[in-house]
Assembly symmetry: C2
Homo-oligomer: 228 residues x 2
Amino acid sequence: MGDGSGIGAGMPAGCRRGAEDEGYLRLRQAILDGRFLPNERLVEADLSKMFNLGRAAIRTALARLEQDGLVERAPFRGARVRAISLAEAIEILEARAVLEGLVARHAALNATPADVAALRATLERMEADYRAGDLASVSEGSSRMHRQLLAVARHQTAVRLLDGLRAQNVRHQFRTILAPGRGRGSIEEHRTIVEAVAAGDPKRAEKAARRHVANIADALRRIPTGTI
Amino acid sequence: MGDGSGIGAGMPAGCRRGAEDEGYLRLRQAILDGRFLPNERLVEADLSKMFNLGRAAIRTALARLEQDGLVERAPFRGARVRAISLAEAIEILEARAVLEGLVARHAALNATPADVAALRATLERMEADYRAGDLASVSEGSSRMHRQLLAVARHQTAVRLLDGLRAQNVRHQFRTILAPGRGRGSIEEHRTIVEAVAAGDPKRAEKAARRHVANIADALRRIPTGTI
DNA sequence: CGCGCGAGGATTGTTGACAATCCTGGTGAC
DNA sequence: GTCACCAGGATTGTCAACAATCCTCGCGCG
């Protein structure tokens, strides 16, 4: 079937893993992008047609996503997007807080001057975006900084865990951005982390990162039971 | 080979999840029990015969175990037990340290008098085992206490993450038990945690738990490159 | 009118066979 | 002797069909 060719059009030949992995990655991204609602059923046949992949590939992708905590599966009843309650989102943020603290600590220990420069550049861009009122870009900058810190920390285990956790509460993320006044504080918190990393102060870096994520959790707690 | 121990013969019909889950659980347990060596190849056909399960069930089990970080899979080259280096084991312990700290903090906030009594009972038993020179039982008691703390903390996310992490460095675990003098110190650390939880002091409980796991990591660091 | 209940459709779980790919061993040229 | 190279076997990836199970809807009964 030539139809399969259309799938990963933009992908270079360097794609190590076959269609199986592709199904996993694309389905995961689809869930993260909100193209499937929480509790929406994920019917294997539908997904198979939608992604032009065999049912087997879809099936293993669903198994892996279940292990990630992104979908739920019941024996003969199929898979559905796991709905993450507010309480669970807060739990996830609590776990993220301590892990991001660990990352910041290691980042402070390992950062080179070049790393610090890159972090500062990201921070400046966030400030500019904030002054321009572009909150979406501020949020994106925050993601970027987290990724930079992960890279600097050189801690594969923390990377793996945080990837999973960040994916899980991506749906609740946008709420915190809208919290009034949160933008300003968020940038200050990022600055504190960067400065601690720049100073090579692991304890302060850890504390700052923890505080930052804990503040996000508090912001979530403060927004009671808003719809979706 | 009687190792199969009579496949699923004794299982009542009450098994919630189908054969698929059974394959996952049994294969996982087999890896954790060391019945497969690190880097050993996991051939689907062999496992299928060994566990009397279809190749499909084995395949999804392997996919899930890969997501757990217990096996590695390459596109057409099959799966093998992931070998966890000493460096990675230390990373995992670092992550565990902060997460167990989180658990201890929540345990201190949630513990009822009955919970505290149960924790103290476990501690006493560990002391008795230690005085009797039964280090294996001491280690088991330590596991038991961790499980109790998880139950008291009521933090599903932390439970999930720690389950995965503890499974991963089960292979390196036995080394730390043998570290000279570690047993005594370990029991003292457990006592510190329990007392902090009993006092309802979250900060102290977190610190104590972190310190405890950090000490295990240090013990690992001190044993250089011992074989296996 | 409410409710157990069975038939039918829909969906998943499983099996077997086939295609695609990788690894191993041997062979020949230089 | 060493290296490129190519069959042959072993193993995984994929597909289509079948069996098992669940959910829904309509029907008869109290």
